[in-house]
C-alpha cells in the first residue's frame, strides 16, 4: 500500500524537505530532532489534550446538517472547527507549538498570518503562557481582516505589516522567516499551516490530526462506521485539510477532496488555484507545487479570502494531487461568497470565507444518497463580516 504520510526524510513523495538558509539550520535541526520525541511524550500529550479540552473546547461537534442533507439528498456532516476558541482550527496547532516551544526553552514567539486566524490563535496561546509575541501580516490582509488585527492587539501581540510583494500571506511568511533569521536563539516560529521546511508540515498535520481522529469516533455513533465516503476541506496552506484527512490518508475507501480558491477564475490571472496553476518548486523552505513564472519567480496569488491567498500548497497536498489520491476542485470568489450565505441561511452557521469555498463543491460534485460526507467547517465568519456585507450589500 502506498504511504501518503511523510517519510523519514521529511518528504511526501517528491515533495517536502527543508530548503532553508544556513541561518535557520540550527532551529530547524533542533525541531527535526525533537518534535516527535516531545510531542509523543506522555507529559506533553496530557498537557496538550487538557488544553484542547478545557481551553479550546474540544472535541468540537460533528454536526449532521439536516437541511443541507435534505436539499442535496445525501448525508452531510460538518466538523465544527468554527467552534474552537478563537474561531478556527488554527489554535489546535498553536497550542501544540507553544507547548513545544516552552519545552525547547524559547522565550519569544513569531508567526505569519493571512486571515488573521493563525495570528489570533498564536497571540492567544502567547497570552495564555505569558510569552512575547510578534505577528507578521500582509498590509492588504491587515485591512481586509480588521477584526482579527484588533483581536491580536487586545491579546497583547505586536502586529507588524509586511509591505513587500502582494502584501499578503506569502510576504508575511517571508518577513517572519527574516525575523527568525535575526532572532534564532530564543525565538520559536509558529508556522500556521502544513507548509515550510520539514518538520513543519508533519508537525502541524499531527497537531491538527485531532480533527480527523475525533471525526472517526463521532461518526461511529451516527453512522456505525468510522469512515466517511468523502472528506472535504478548503486548502490554503492545507492545515485544516491535513487535520481532517490525516487518519484517512492511506484508506483508499475514503475520498479526499481539496478545495482551492480560484479567485476571479482559474485562468483570470487573479487566482490561487495552486494545483492547476502551480508547478514544482521551492517556497518557504519546502519543495512543493507553487504558482510561479517560468523563471521561478513566485506569482502573486489572489483570492477574496485572505487565508487561501497563498501561491503554494503544503507538500502533503502536492503529493495527494500528483498521485491522484486527492481530488482537487477550485471555487471562485462568487461561488464561495454565495455558499457563505447559503450555509448561514440554511444551517445558521456563518462560515469563514475560506470555509465557504469547501461547501461550494456541493454544486460541482454529485453525491449518492448513501454517501457520508464530512466537511471541515474550518472557521467562523466573524472576521469576514465586512466583506460579506459589502459583497451582498446587506
Amino acid at each position: 500500500m502506498k504511504n501518503f504520510n511523510v517519510n523519514k526524510d521529511g518528504f511526501y513523495g517528491d515533495f517536502g524537505g527543508a530548503f532553508i538558509p544556513e541561518m535557520l539550520f540550527p532551529n530547524i535541526n533542533e525541531l527535526q530532532k525533537n518534535y516527535i520525541r516531545i510531542s509523543e511524550s506522555k507529559e506533553f500529550k496530557k498537557e496538550f489534550n487538557q488544553l484542547l479540552h478545557d481551553y479550546v473546547g474540544r472535541p468540537t461537534p460533528l454536526y449532521y446538517a439536516k437541511r443541507l442533507s435534505e436539499k442535496f439528498k445525501t448525508k452531510i456532516y460538518l466538523k465544527r472547527e468554527d467552534l474552537c476558541h478563537t474561531g478556527a482550527h488554527k489554535i489546535n496547532n498553536t497550542i501544540g507549538q507553544i507547548l513545544l516551544a516552552k519545552k525547547l526553552g524559547k522565550k519569544r514567539i513569531i508567526a505569519e498570518t493571512g486571515a488573521g486566524q493563525h495570528g489570533v490563535a498564536t497571540a492567544t496561546v502567547c497570552a495564555l503562557m505569558g510569552v512575547e509575541c510578534v505577528i507578521y501580516m500582509g498590509e492588504v490582509d491587515i485591512s481586509r481582516q480588521a477584526p482579527n488585527v484588533a483581536r491580536m492587539k487586545m491579546l497583547g501581540a505586536k502586529v507588524r505589516p509586511a509591505t513587500s510583494g502582494s502584501k499578503t500571506l506569502k510576504d508575511a511568511t517571508n518577513e517572519a522567516i527574516r525575523d527568525w533569521i535575526s532572532n534564532p536563539v530564543d525565538t520559536h516560529y509558529i508556522i500556521g499551516s502544513v507548509v515550510g521546511p520539514h518538520p513543519y508540515p508533519d508537525m502541524v498535520a499531527r497537531f491538527q490530526s485531532v480533527i480527523g481522529y475525533e471525526t472517526k469516533k463521532q461518526l461511529l455513533k451516527f453512522e456505525n462506521t468510522e469512515n466517511p465516503t468523502h472528506v472535504i476541506a478548503c486548502v490554503g496552506g492545507g492545515s485544516n485539510a491535513a487535520g481532517l484527512f490525516y487518519p484517512f490518508l492511506n484508506n483508499k475507501n475514503v475520498n479526499i477532496v481539496c478545495v482551492e480558491a480560484a479567485g476571479k477564475g482559474v485562468h483570470s490571472g487573479e487566482s490561487a488555484a495552486t494545483s492547476i496553476l502551480g508547478t514544482e518548486g521551492i517556497i518557504h523552505g519546502s519543495k512543493t507545487l507553487l504558482m510561479q513564472t517560468k523563471d521561478g519567480q513566485i506569482t502573486e496569488p489572489y483570492s477574496i479570502s485572505a487565508g487561501l491567498d497563498y501561491p503554494g500548497i503544503g507538500p502533503m497536498h502536492a503529493n495527494l494531487f500528483r498521485s491522484k489520491r486527492g481530488e482537487f476542485i477550485s471555487i471562485d470568489d462568487s461561488d464561495a461568497m454565495k455558499w457563505g450565505l447559503i450555509l448561514s441561511q440554511m444551517e445558521g452557521i456563518i462560515p469563514a470565507i475560506e470555509t465557504s469555498h469547501a461547501f461550494a463543491v456541493l454544486d460541482k460534485m454529485k453525491f449518492n444518497k448513501n454517501d457520508i460526507i464530512v466537511f471541515n467547517c474550518s472557521g467562523r465568519g466573524d472576521k469576514d463580516l465586512d466583506t460579506y456585507v459589502n459583497y451582498f450589500k446587506l
Binding site: 530548503f19 544556513e22 539550520f25 527574516r178 533569521i181 518548486g281 521561478g296
Partner: protein, 254 residues
C-alpha cells in the same frame, strides 16, 4: 585553477561586492561589472533577483523587486554576461535563490555559467546536506565552486561539513540577521570571528552581512580574509549612480 581560489592565493583583505542584476536599470549589469573592474574589487557577486528573497533585508529586497519589474530574467542575465570575460578577469560569483535555478534547470544553469565564465555560486537556501546528496555532482561537472554560509550558531561539526563542501571561500555571516548595512560590530561578533579563525579551516573566510564602511571592512579583514559588501553598495549606486562606483570603493578601501 578557479579564479576564486587564485585570488585568495594572491591577495589578502579581499573586497567582494554584491549587486543585484538589473538594478537600478535593466542594462546596468555590464556597466557595474566594468565599474567594479576599474575599481579593482577582488570578487564580484551578481545577485540573480528573486521575488521572495527571504535571507535578505529591505535594501536587497527592494533592488530585487525593481530588477524584476525592470524585466530581469535568468536568460537575460546570461545574455548580458556573454562577453563577461572580455570585460574583466575578476572572479565572478552568482548569488541566487534555489527556485529560479531549479526552474531554469540546474544542469542548463551550470552549463551557462561555465560558458560565460562564472566561477562559483552562492545559493543561500540550498543547504549543504541537500547539495551534497543531490546536486554536488552537477556543479562539479561544470567546475563551479560552491560557497556555503556559516553563522554564529553553526556548530563546529557542521562547519567542518561546510568547509568540506565549499570551494573558494566560506561566507561567514557576521551576525543573526538578514542582509543589510550596519555601522559596527559588537564584542560578540568579534569573539565569533576569532573563534572561527582559530578553527583553521581549509577554505578562506569572507565576512558578510552588515559591512558598510571602512571601519567594519577593516575589522572584518583583521578577522578573516576579507569581506563582502552588498546593501551598502546598492544604496550608494541608487543614490549616486553606477558611475560613482569607484568613489564608493575608495570610501571602503582607502
Amino acid at each position: 585553477m578557479n579564479r576564486i581560489n587564485q585570488i585568495f592565493e594572491r591577495k589578502e583583505n579581499l573586497l567582494s561586492i554584491y549587486f543585484t542584476a538589473g538594478f537600478p536599470k535593466i542594462d546596468d549589469t555590464v556597466k557595474i561589472i566594468k565599474e567594479l573592474d576599474k575599481s579593482q574589487v577582488d570578487i564580484i557577486e551578481i545577485g540573480l533577483p528573486f521575488s521572495d528573497p527571504l535571507a535578505d533585508g529591505p535594501t536587497i529586497q527592494k533592488s530585487s523587486e525593481k530588477a524584476l519589474s525592470n524585466g530581469m530574467t535568468t536568460n537575460l542575465l546570461f545574455d548580458q554576461l556573454k562577453d563577461l570575460r572580455k570585460i574583466s578577469d575578476i572572479p565572478v560569483v552568482i548569488m541566487g535563490y534555489f527556485n529560479p535555478i531549479l526552474q531554469y534547470g540546474i544542469e542548463k544553469f551550470c552549463s551557462n555559467c561555465k560558458d560565460v565564465g562564472i566561477d562559483g555560486l552562492i545559493i543561500p537556501d540550498l543547504p549543504a546536506d541537500i547539495f551534497k546528496k543531490n546536486y554536488k555532482i552537477i556543479f562539479e561537472k561544470y567546475k563551479l565552486n560552491m560557497m556555503f554560509l556559516i553563522t554564529p550558531q553553526t556548530s563546529n561539526e557542521r562547519i567542518n561539513l561546510i568547509d568540506d563542501l565549499s570551494k573558494g571561500f566560506i561566507y561567514m555571516v557576521s551576525s543573526y540577521s538578514v542582509t543589510g548595512a550596519k555601522d559596527s560590530f559588537d564584542k560578540y561578533q568579534i569573539e565569533y570571528f576569532k573563534r572561527i579563525k582559530k578553527l583553521n579551516l581549509s577554505n578562506p573566510l569572507l565576512i558578510g552581512f552588515g559591512i558598510s564602511n571602512k571601519k567594519t571592512f577593516q575589522t572584518a579583514c583583521q578577522n578573516s580574509n576579507g569581506a563582502i559588501i552588498g546593501s551598502a553598495y546598492i544604496k550608494y549606486i541608487e543614490n549616486h549612480g553606477v558611475s560613482k562606483t569607484r568613489d564608493f570603493i575608495k570610501l571602503i578601501k582607502d
